[in-house]
Amino acid sequence: MALKFPIFLDAQSTTPVDPRVVDAMLPYFTEKFGHPASRNHPFGWEAEAAVDEARAQLARLIGARDAKELVFTSGGTESINLAIKGVAEMYREKGNHIVTTVIEQRAGLDVCKRLERQGFEVAYIPVQPDGLVDVETVRKAVTDKTILISVMFANNEIGTIQDIAAIGKLAKEKGIIFHTDATQALGKIPVDVEAMGIDLLSCTSHLIYGPKGVGALYVRRKAPRVRIAPLIDGGGHERGMRSGTLPVPLIVGFGRAAEICGEVMAEERRRLAGLRDHLQDVILSNVDEAFLNGHPERRLPHNLNISFAYVEGESVLMGLNKETALSSGSACTSSTLEPSYVIAALGASAELAHSSIRFSLHRFNTAEEIDYVGQRTLEVVKRLREMSPLYELAKEGVDIKSIQWKAE
């Protein structure tokens, strides 16, 4: 089959909506447009039933005991805000200390920074060179004032999967609420709030082949019963935790997307990991000084993050971007002009953070696409190295670190 361009390999930024999800959503824009809080007529009943069904579909995907434990939000960012700020406000009397990691996504880090300005203390624990959080480091960071441990399930850049069950167990022992940002893990690998001792879980629809604009926060109701203060006040929807008219078509889509992920996960994981491993082999066996970022095994099946020494990430993307959509930890591709703090947290040099490329695969990628991207990546990196002064110096045997660079 002829390849269709551009090829999308940026599926940890977003995913295309599965056509089956679109089909499920469509009736809820037109004939089934009711408000789920309208208790007195069939339009409302129909909408409420659809929302309940979606809630149940999502509850099954994360192993929640009760669908009522799920609160719909506008997406992952809102869920993370609601979880962390909601706990901070609700349990302020109990303590003012939060434990999190340096590799959380921006929402998690920025919420914690805001809370610090409001008098909270936050321990940002480092990660090991493979991106894993050492559970003992979490244990040591906990104080008698700690009210929340917040650790992401799997990282958005390097795909490293944390030992969530061990952290959940630790949180239980200490009687501390445990939140995990599962935006990247949901629907890709097994997530079980009961087995893993998760009290709060943030997730989003658009990374699991559902629509953008909807997410959810799991809030444990039993053992322990977790309470959170709302961010948005109003009609008391979602058990008072998130007021606002529910976007029924989006929620229906999210539910259907979750259902499909549950059905296909085992097979999809295997297939995507196979394609990913092939891409990794092609690149690492043909390029010298290319380094895998993150843990080689404890990693999302669709994630591959490689630093190509001596070439800058954005220039690699530029060589491919007409035909392939990828992302880079290079400063030039971020709005902050700082290179990836995740790659930097692994202890890699800043140069390698600038040189990192993330390949993230999705449900609709084919083996032909992956072969093509692999070959093109080799070509582009080779060409850029031929024009890299650093590669030239390295080939001459000069230690680049020995040069007195004048940083701007």
Binding site: Y310, V311, E312, E314, S315, M318, G319, S330, A331, C332, L337, P339, S349, A350, E351, H354, E386, M387, S388, P389, L390, Y391, E392, I400, I403, W405, K406, A407, E408
Partner: protein, 136 residues
Amino acid sequence: MAYSEKVVDHYNNPRNVGSFAKDTPGIGTGLVGAPECGDVMKLQIKVNLETGLIEDAKFKTFGCGSAIASSSLATEWLKGKTVDEAAKIKNTDIVNELKLPPVKIHCSVLAEDAIKAALTDYREKWASARAAADSK
């Protein structure tokens, strides 16, 4: 971010990529930037010690597409100029020619720094040889 046509052209068809042997008479080398900042440029000029004109220029750049384009453009502009004329190339000229957006202005600044460093290196090494040739 969308790139200007000229940036794309220089990225796809960089002019004058390569290196001269540093100690060849008339060669001036500038190496600027820092790997941890994501930009390093090496720019070299080859001055004809008889005429004082820059006969050739070459570059190698580690950096984004705009950094590659800025240094590629600089080598084009350097050729045929005297050393004094070359010193007048400003980063703003590069910004205007390549239509660089504000976040990429540092790429043009680095290219100007690279030109200046190459000219300084040339003067330190070969200005006396050039003066001798001139007085003949």
